[in-house]
């Protein structure tokens, strides 16, 4: 009897250890956030003009170019003009840019809501610049860096994530770009086709997360 108890106890311990280590592996291997093909969640975020914006407000949109970016990252600054051009080109075609700043302003004071409003005004942004104060949206999307783009395609079922990654393949020189990843993806969607390139990577600034 005693032996049996030990055996059972031993088995339970073994199972627990296996489960725990298996779980750990799983967590390490599973990317948190959306993958291409997933349905993205809508959000309600405060825009620099004080309005609260969500994607549901855009009844006529065919999709969205959601860009996690900020005031402070050199890459974001290099791309801000191109982000504005994207909006100018695609808003009227049904794919507006929604820029979201997820940085914790206590870690990066120049990313505060006030500073965002200033930058948007000074640079004459044509797109909404939203403040993800709780960082819930960046977390849900699985954004890791700025700039980090998610192209969403509106379908009856929801907002299908169609492209994740960089804006193009040359952060330094817009004229030297040979691959316009975001434009190519949106053009394909406007043509009713699936984008050829659905994910790319780029070096960027880490999102400044709040301390857990």
């Amino acid at each position: 009897m005693k032996k049996n108890i030990f055996l059972v106890f031993g088995l339970i311990t073994m199972a627990a250890v296996l489960f725990a280590s298996g779980n750990k592996e799983k967590i390490a291997n599973t990317k948190v956030g959306f993958n291409v093909g997933d349905m993205a969640s809508d959000f309600k975020l405060k825009n620099v003009d004080g309005r609260t914006i969500s994607m549901a407000d855009y009844k006529d949109a065919k999709g969205f170019i959601v860009i996690f970016t900020c005031n402070t990252c050199p890459f974001s600054k290099m791309y801000e003009e191109r982000i504005d051009l994207l909006n100018q080109k695609y808003e009227s075609k049904g794919f507006p840019v929604l820029a979201i700043n997820p940085n914790d302003a206590t870690k990066q004071p120049d990313d505060s809501f006030e500073e965002m409003a200033k930058r948007s005004k000074n640079k004459g942004y044509s797109f909404p610049y939203l403040y993800d104060e709780s960082q819930a949206v960046a977390t849900a999307y699985g954004a890791t860096r700025t700039p980090h783009v998610y192209v969403l395609n509106k379908k009856p079922k929801g907002l299908a994530v169609s492209y994740i990654g960089a804006i193009d393949n040359n952060h330094k020189d817009a004229d030297a770009v040979t691959q316009k990843y975001v434009e190519d993806a949106v053009d394909s969607l406007l043509d009713g086709k699936a984008p050829k390139v659905t994910s790319t990577k780029a070096v960027g600034c880490t999102i400044k997360w709040k301390d857990a």
Binding site: R145, Q179, A202
Partner: protein, 165 residues
């Protein structure tokens, strides 16, 4: 009078300037193939390769841990490489002065690449591209560990020692 002094002043300035810079290391500007070689070349040292930039605040915050690691283990079998993503235009006016000011002895490289998508996965498929990020390669290329995050205080040495065990 003024005209005759001017070159002298310039010369003096240049001498002082070069003297103050003589301690700083030469920073090698590299491309991805050089980085690939750096990562995968056979070595009897444990490689720690940190991806950073002077404009990256969390990178600068964790940098002292890397310099400490260098001081402690460089004579044993650590080979520390600091791969900067600073822009090559900023080499002279930002990166070099920074490296000199911090007295960085560990080897610093500036990776001058623009098409990031072409190599990030090759460094490690789990890398999203955010920095700081660190790659550890055990001697003889026996194993690798890729870490995309800023090390907490005193964490780097523990992770390193655990890795080379």
């Amino acid at each position: 009078m003024n005209r005759s002094i001017k070159p002298l002043v310039i010369l003096l300035f240049l001498v002082c300037f070069s003297a103050s810079k003589s301690h700083a290391q030469d920073i090698e500007v590299i491309k991805y193939p050089d980085l690939a070689k750096l990562i995968s070349s056979q070595s009897d040292k444990n490689k720690v390769i940190n991806f950073w930039a002077t404009w990256c605040r969390p990178c600068i915050k964790e940098l002292p841990q890397f310099l400490e690691l260098y001081n402690k283990y460089n004579d044993e079998n650590l080979e520390l490489s600091l791969i900067s993503f600073d822009f090559v235009e900023d080499l002279e006016n930002k990166l070099k002065p920074f490296v000199a000011k911090k007295n960085i002895e560990a080897k610093v490289y500036l990776l001058d690449e623009t098409d990031y998508n072409a190599f990030i996965d090759k460094v490690d498929p789990s890398w999203s591209g955010a920095i700081p990020a660190t790659l550890m390669v055990a001697k003889g290329n026996s194993k690798r560990k890729f870490i995309e995050k800023e090390f907490a205080e005193d964490e780097l040495e523990k992770v390193y020692l655990n890795f080379i065990k």
